[in-house]
C-alpha cells in the first residue's frame, strides 16, 4: 500500500491507541494537517499557543495513563514547545512531540522558520529524532512511543521535514521494537528483595515514601497493600500525592519544604524508610546529611541513575515499582503477619508519637469572617467535590495549598508541574485532562499571576467543548516569590505586586466563559457550588488574604525537621 509520509504518521499515531492530539498548524506541517482533515477518528484539539499543546498532552497522558501527543510546526512552533517538554521531562511524563521541519535539502541553511529543535531539546527529552528518510518513518514513530512509555517514561521529540511528510512510499509494518541498547530493568533482584523483607521485620519505626514513579507504574494498589500489611505510615512527594488515600489514618501528608510537620518529623525519626519511585529532589530532602539519618533506606526505582544520586540507599532495588511491590507483598504474605507489622506495642508507640506531632503542629489556618483565606477555598473545594475530580494547578502558593488541603484519594487525579514548576501549566493541563476524561469534573486551581501566562487557552476550552472550572486564588501578588521576600529579604517586594490585573470575570466573558467573583467569606461555598455545577467553562475568582504564607516551611538548605511553623 502506497502512503504519504503524513498518512503514515497519522496511521502510526492511531495504532498507538491515541484518540486525541493537541496541536497548532504552520507551513512545515501543512501536509500533516491536510491528512488530518481526512481523519475524523483522530481528534485534533487546536490550542492557542504551542506551549499549551504540550502541557495538554502531558496532562492527557497523566489523566489517562497513556502517551500524550502534540503536533506543531517548525521554527517558532517548535521553540514554543520547549518549556512544555522540559516540564514533562522533569516529571517523567510519556509524551511524543512531533515538530515540522524545513525540507531536508534546506536543513542547515538558515531557511525560513528553521531551527535545530533536535539540538535544542536534546537535554530535555528522553530521546529525539530527525527523520530524513521516509522508509524509516514508521519505525521511528513506533520507537518514539516505545521509548516514551517504557522504563522511566519521558518526552520524545520527532522532527519531521516537510518533504518527508509530502513524499510517497510503500508502507511496511515496522514490526516489534527491540533496541539492543535500551532494555529497562523491570524485575528486581530477588536477593535484594529478601533483604527488604528482613529489614521490614526488624523495623520499629517504618515510613513508606511514595513518589511519581508509583503513579507512572500504576502501583498505588500494591503500595496501599504494603502499608496495610506493615501497619506503616505513608508520606509522598508532590508527584506522589494520591498514590495513598489522603483520608486514611496512616497518611502523614506531604513531605518536604511545605510538607506536614508530622511527615517531616517521621522522616527524621524513622528507622526504616521505604522509598518507592522517588528521586529525592532537594525540595523533599532539605539538608541531605540530616535526611532520614537514623534510618535504613530502601529505594525502589526503575532508573538506576536515581539511585545514589542525592541520597545513599542502604538497599537499592532497580525495578518497576509495581512489579517490585507485587513481589515484595507476596513474599511478606508468606511470613508470619505479626512479624511484618512489627511488635504491637512498639508500633503503637510510633503511631502515637506521630499523632502527637500532628496534635501539637497540625497543618492549620484560621478563617475569620473578614478576609477569605486561600486555604479555606481549597478546603471547601475538597469538601464539595468527590474523589473522581481531577485537580490541576498552576505554580506557587496556590499549588502548595492545593497539595496541602485537597486530600487526594486516587492517583492520576492531581496534575501539577512538579519538577520544573511552570507557571501557565494549570489551564492547558486541565483542558488535556478533560479531553482524556470527558466524564470527570476537572478543576484548575490557579494564582492570579500564573493564569495570565496561558489564559489564551480559555478559547481552546470553549471551542473544543472541554469545559473546565478555574479557581483563581487572587492575592494580587506573585505570592510565592513575595513569601520568600517577606521571610528572607526584609519584605522588599521587588516586582511581585500584581495589583494591576485584568478583570478576570470580564476576561472569562470575553472568551464566552462564565465569570464569578467574591471577596466575602460567606459566599465562598455558594460561588464554588454554582461554578462547579455550571455546564461550561467557568472562572471563579476569590479575592484572598494578600500576605498569607504557605506554612509549614523548611528554609532552603536546612534539615526538614527544622520547620518554620505557623
Amino acid at each position: 500500500m502506497k502512503l504519504k509520509g503524513a498518512q503514515i504518521l497519522i496511521k502510526m499515531i492511531k495504532e498507538e491507541g491515541v484518540d486525541t492530539i493537541f496541536g497548532y498548524p504552520g507551513g512545515a506541517v501543512i501536509d500533516i494537517y491536510d491528512a488530518l482533515d481526512k481523519t475524523p477518528d483522530l481528534r485534533h484539539i487546536l490550542v492557542r499557543h504551542e506551549q499549551g499543546a504540550v502541557h495538554a498532552a502531558d496532562a492527557y497522558s497523566r489523566a489517562k495513563g497513556t502517551v500524550g501527543v502534540a503536533l506543531v510546526t517548525s521554527g517558532p512552533g517548535a521553540t514554543n514547545t520547549v518549556t512544555g517538554i522540559a516540564s514533562a521531562y522533569m516529571d517523567s511524563i510519556p509524551i511524543v512531540v512531533f515538530t515540522g521541519q524545513v525540507p531536508t535539502a534546506l536543513i542547515g541553511n538558515d531557511a525560513f522558520q528553521e531551527v535545530d529543535i533536535v539540538g535544542i531539546t536534546r537535554p530535555c527529552t528522553k530521546h529525539n529524532y530527525l527523520v530524513k528518510d521516509i522508509t524509516k518513518l514508521a519505525r521511528t514513530i513506533k520507537e518514539a512511543f516505545h521509548i516514551a512509555r517504557s522504563g522511566r517514561p519521558g518526552p520524545v521529540l520527532v522532527d519531521l521535514p516537510k518533504d518527508v511528510m509530502g513524499a510517497m512510499t510503500e508502507f511496511e509494518e515496522p514490526g516489534d521494537i527491540d533496541l539492543r541498547s535500551y532494555k529497562p530493568t523491570y524485575n528486581p533482584n530477588m536477593k535484594q528483595l529478601s533483604r527488604v523483607v528482613e529489614l521490614i521485620k526488624e523495623a520499629k519505626r517504618p515510613v513508606i515514601f511514595s513518589g511519581g514513579g508509583v503513579v507512572l507504574s500504576k502501583a498505588s494498589g500494591e503500595l496501599v497493600k504494603l502499608a496495610k500489611m506493615m501497619n506503616s505510615p505513608v508520606t509522598a512527594s508532590l508527584m506522589g500525592l494520591g498514590t495513598f488515600p489522603g483520608s486514611d489514618p496512616l497518611w502523614l501528608g506531604m513531605l518536604g519544604m511545605h510538607g506536614t510537620y508530622r511527615a517531616n518529623m517521621s522522616i527524621g525519626n524513622c528507622d526504616l524508610l521505604i522509598a518507592v519511585g522517588v528521586r529525592f529532589d532537594d525540595r523533599v530532602t532539605g539538608r541531605k546529611d540530616k535526611f532520614a539519618s537514623e534510618a535504613k533506606i530502601v529505594q525502589i526505582d526503575i532508573d538506576p541513575t536515581s539511585i545514589h544520586k542525592n541520597v545513599e540507599a542502604n538497599c537499592p532495588i532497580v525495578g518497576d515499582c509495581k512489579n517490585t511491590l507485587e513481589l515484595l507483598n507476596s513474599m511478606l504474605e508468606s511470613e508470619n503477619p505479626a512479624d511484618v507489622c512489627g511488635n504491637p506495642e512498639e508500633r503503637q508507640a510510633w503511631l502515637d508519637q506521630i499523632a502527637q506531632w500532628r496534635a501539637t503542629s497540625p497543618q492549620r489556618y484560621e478563617q475569620k469572617d473578614d478576609v477569605i483565606k486561600p486555604q479555606y477555598v481549597i478546603d471547601r473545594l475538597h469538601k464539595l467535590t468527590d474523589k473522581n475530580t481531577i485537580i490541576t494547578t498552576e505554580v506557587g502558593q496556590n499549588q502548595m495549598w492545593t497539595a496541602q488541603y485537597y486530600l487526594f484519594d486516587k492517583p492520576n487525579h492531581f496534575i501539577t508541574s512538579g519538577g520544573l514548576g511552570v507557571m501557565g501549566f494549570g489551564l492547558p493541563a486541565a483542558i488535556g485532562a478533560k479531553a482524556a476524561c470527558p466524564d470527570k469534573l476537572v478543576v484548575c486551581v490557579a494564582g492570579d499571576g500564573s493564569i495570565q501566562m496561558n489564559s489564551q487557552e480559555l478559547m481552546t476550552a470553549i471551542e473544543s467543548n472541554l469545559p473546565v472550572k478555574i479557581v483563581i486564588l487572587n492575592n494580587r501578588y506573585l505570592g510565592m516569590v513575595r513569601q520568600w521576600q517577606e521571610l528572607f529579604y526584609d519584605k522588599r517586594y521587588s516586582y511581585t505586586n500584581m495589583e494591576r490585573a485584568p478583570d478576570f470575570v470580564k476576561l472569562a466573558e470575553a472568551y464566552g466563559a462564565i465569570g464569578m467573583r467574591t471577596d466575602k467569606v460567606n459566599e465562598v461555598e455558594e460561588v464554588l457550588k454554582k461554578g462547579l455545577a455550571c455546564e461550561g467553562t467557568v472562572i471563579m475568582e476569590f479575592i484572598v488574604e494578600r500576605e498569607e504564607c504557605v506554612y509549614p516551611m523548611v528554609p532552603a538548605g536546612v534539615a526538614i525537621t527544622e520547620m518554620l511553623l505557623v
Binding site: 533536535v118 539540538g119 536534546r122 537535554p123 528522553k126 530521546h127 530527525l130 521509548i147 533496541l179 539492543r180 541498547s181 535500551y182 532508573d303 538506576p304 541513575t305 545514589h308 544520586k309
Partner: protein
C-alpha cells in the same frame, strides 16, 4: 572520596548526533572530559567506540556511567580503570631542529622508538605513540629544543582479556 582518573570505553551507535548527546551530558551535569577519541569500529560499521578519560570521585563516576547507559544510543560502558588494559596515545610533535640540534633530537627519537615523519630546513615533525607517561617524558626531553606545536589523539584503550569487551 578522592578524585581519580578513569578510562571509559563506550560503544555507541554510529549515528549523527550521538557525540553531541554525550558531550551535552557532560557539560550539562558538570562532569569533566580530559580527553576523548572516537572512531567507527572495524568489527561493525554501525558502531563507534569512544574512549574517554574523565576525572571524578567514585560517586561521580558511578553517576557518569549510569547516565551514559541511560542514553538510548549508548550500547555499553566499560570502566577500564580497575581492569587490565593496554592504552596508547598518538602524538605528532613539531620541534625546532637547527643543524646543531639534529643529532640530539635523533638520539632521543631513537631511544623512544619513534619516527621523524616530516623534515624542514629548521624543524622536524615526529610521530610517537605510547601511554601518557611516555608521551609526557618525551615532551619534557624535547622542550629545550623549542616545541612549535603538537597534536594528540587522546587516549585509546582495550582490556587485555580475549573476550570482546561488551
Amino acid at each position: 572520596m578522592s578524585n581519580q582518573k578513569h578510562i571509559l570505553s563506550i560503544l555507541v551507535d554510529n549515528e549523527p548526533g550521538v557525540l553531541s548527546r554525550i558531550a551535552g551530558l557532560f557539560s550539562g551535569r558538570g562532569y569533566n572530559i580530559e580527553s576523548l577519541s572516537v572512531a567507527q569500529t572495524a568489527e561493525n560499521s554501525f558502531l563507534s567506540r569512544i574512549t574517554m578519560v574523565t576525572v571524578g570521585d567514585d560517586h561521580i563516576i558511578e553517576q557518569i556511567t549510569k547516565q551514559l547507559h541511560k542514553l538510548i544510543n549508548v550500547i555499553t560502558v566499560n570502566d577500564l580503570t580497575d581492569k587490565k588494559y593496554v592504552q596508547r596515545e598518538l602524538m605528532l610533535i613539531k620541534v625546532n631542529a637547527k643543524p646543531e640540534q639534529r643529532a640530539e633530537i635523533l638520539r632521543i627519537v631513537d631511544i623512544f622508538r619513534c619516527r621523524v615523519v616530516d623534515v624542514g630546513p629548521e624543524h622536524y615533525t615526529i610521530e610517537m605513540s605510547g601511554d601518557d607517561g611516555k608521551i609526557e617524558a618525551f615532551i619534557d626531553l624535547l622542550r629545550p629544543m623549542g616545541i612549535i606545536e603538537t597534536a594528540r589523539t587522546g587516549l585509546i584503550a582495550l582490556p587485555r582479556d580475549k573476550k570482546k569487551s561488551k
